[in-house]
């Protein structure tokens, strides 16, 4: 149980960091990610991971 919670937390951290990195890349070079990938999917995954983590707590 504790391990599942740990993984959920790390997944949340992963999506948080990935979102921040994506935003920084987009600010430096506009369209570098948006041309290939819709960041709304990433935000959705980040939000889901956050909700899952909160529900476990």
């Amino acid at each position: 149980m504790r391990r599942a919670q740990l993984i959920a937390r790390e997944i949340f951290y992963f999506f948080t960091l990935l979102t921040i990195v994506s935003l920084i890349l987009e600010i430096i070079w506009p369209h570098i990610i948006l041309a290939h990938f819709n960041l709304n999917w990433l935000f959705s995954l980040w939000l889901l991971s956050a909700l899952f983590l909160l529900s476990k707590k």
Partner: protein, 494 residues
């Protein structure tokens, strides 16, 4: 501390290492796509669009009123239609392939693709996708293909294009006593030949007092080694963008002289007009035809122009404004496209002996004349009308001269006088009703803003308002880009 974390919590360490690796792969993958280290990449877009993972590289067509609504494939019903291509870095060349279905009538025989070269003058370099006039001609015979070039002859006077070019360089073609301009037509092909005025005419220096709005190109014929052009401009300051002025002088495509006047006004949209002047002077020119390019925005008016040479003809377009009374000018084309820029400019205009009604503002009308006269008169009673055709315009018949060859465009008519046609053209291939056409652009010097190159699809004569129901459907656009590799870039820096 790190080793303690590693021994105490090995699972967490492995998990974080895995996620960091994923982020690193993510960043490296997008950097690879940004840099394109091998210098080659292909972007494409297909219709109908499925679920898109990203915004893509080829952006939607505009303006919306030239596209039919709610169709499976983008349906072009007006001319021209614009789209843009986003690239993460500049490239040197682009091979564009378009798959389309053609429901066009015989009045729209041309489909061309254009690349935006100059933002100020909105100049597009046009390349052929489909030319039905040439397709018909090729089907009828009398032509030979030499590489990308098609050479058509009415009477088979030449064995090949080289023999033809040799005679053209000498200024005299077989079976063509009136000179190359009378019996030769080209399409997408730059033929060089020594242009001579049809007869020796002495024309005194010219002063054009008619104000002209926006960018203009014109030819001048220099016969005595000297050229002086004095421009007076009025910057209307109605647009917030700055209005720099550039005047370029070319000889056979080579830049001979360039004059530049920056716009230093900190309030370019103040509405207060500014007078500006600029001169171009050359004293050691070889006699012949020169092209002058006046690069200005539509916020600037050429108030008057003094030219040391009298043979001066405006190319393809004029936009007379601020006229006192009637306006009379001349052209050599057999058609005239006119657009009233304001409702106050609506009128009945006179062209080649006929009256034509310019009855709707902001809409381009095409008036065609069957007159065989080489020079046709145009009379306007009101100004602020944009006049366009594929010929030249001048304010006196004696000033008019056209050093260009006839173009096999939508207004081309194959008359018995035309003995030769030279074109760089590859007809589109066809499969199950879908045509595939390909063309290549040199992207060096092309206009690129916010990472985007501007393109247009031109189908001259296609009008959404005419109710004929003709259209062109696009199924696929593919752009193969080639540029410098990462290693070439590094080498250049070292």
């Amino acid at each position: 501390m790190f080793s303690a974390f590693l021994t105490k919590r090995p699972f967490l360490f492995k998990l974080r290492l895995f996620f960091f690796s994923l982020i690193l792969v993510f960043v490296l993958a997008f950097l690879y796509l940004k840099i394109v280290p091998f210098g080659r990449i292909t972007y494409e877009r297909h219709w109908p669009s499925g679920l898109k993972s990203g915004q893509g590289f080829i952006y939607d067509f505009s303006p919306a009123e030239r596209l039919a609504k709610d169709e499976l494939y983008p349906r072009l019903i007006g001319d021209p239609v614009y789209f843009s291509l986003f690239t993460p870095r500049p490239f040197n060349s682009a091979v564009v392939t378009i798959v389309y279905r053609d429901h066009l009538s015989s009045s729209t025989p041309l489909v061309e693709l254009g690349l935006l070269r100059d933002k100020v003058t909105r100049r597009y370099e046009l390349k052929p996708l489909d030319n039905k006039i040439l397709d018909t001609l090729m089907a009828a015979g009398g032509w030979r293909r030499e590489g990308e070039t098609i050479f058509w002859q009415a009477n088979g006077a030449y064995a090949d294009l080289n023999a033809f070019q040799a005679d053209l360089d000498a200024g005299q073609l077989k079976d063509c006593s009136s000179g190359p301009n009378a019996c030769l037509a080209v399409y997408n092909y730059a033929l060089t030949f020594p242009y001579n005025l049809p007869k020796e005419t002495t024309v005194s220096p010219l002063e054009l007092k008619q104000p002209l709005r926006g960018a203009e190109d014109f030819y001048v014929y220099v016969s005595n080694n000297q050229l002086r052009l004095d421009f007076n401009f009025v910057d209307l300051n109605q647009d917030k963008a700055p209005d720099p002025i550039t005047v370029n002088l070319y000889r056979g495509g080579e830049l001979v002289n360039s004059q530049f006047l920056p716009d230093d006004n900190p309030r370019p949209a103040s509405g207060i007009s500014e007078n500006k002047s600029l001169s171009l002077k050359e004293t050691n020119l070889s006699p012949g035809v020169y092209k002058v390019e006046v690069k200005i925005t539509d916020d600037v008016v050429i108030k008057n122009l003094k030219s040391s040479v009298g043979k001066l003809a405006f190319i393809n377009k004029v936009w007379p404004v601020s006229t006192n009374g009637d306006l009379k000018l001349f052209t050599d084309a057999n058609y005239l496209q006119a657009k009233a820029f304001t409702p106050a400019s609506l009128q009945t205009l006179f062209f080649a002996g006929q009256d034509f009604s310019l009855s709707v503002p902001y809409e381009q009308f095409t008036f065609t004349s069957a007159s065989p006269a080489p020079v046709k008169e145009i009379k306007l009673t009101k100004d602020d009308v944009i006049l366009e055709n594929n010929g030249v315009f001048s304010w006196s018949a004696i000033s008019l001269f056209d050093p260009t060859l006839k173009k096999v465009d939508s207004h081309f008519v194959l008359t018995p006088a035309i003995k030769y046609i030279v074109a760089a053209y590859q007809p589109p291939s066809e499969n199950e009703g879908w045509k595939t056409a390909q063309t290549e652009f040199d992207l060096v010097g092309a206009y690129r803003e916010n990472g985007r190159y501007g393109f247009l699809i031109s189908i001259p004569g296609l009008r959404a308002e005419d109710g004929t129901g003709d259209y062109l459907e696009i199924k696929e656009i593919k752009v193969e880009l080639t540029g410098r590799t990462l290693w070439q870039k590094i080498k250049a820096l070292l």
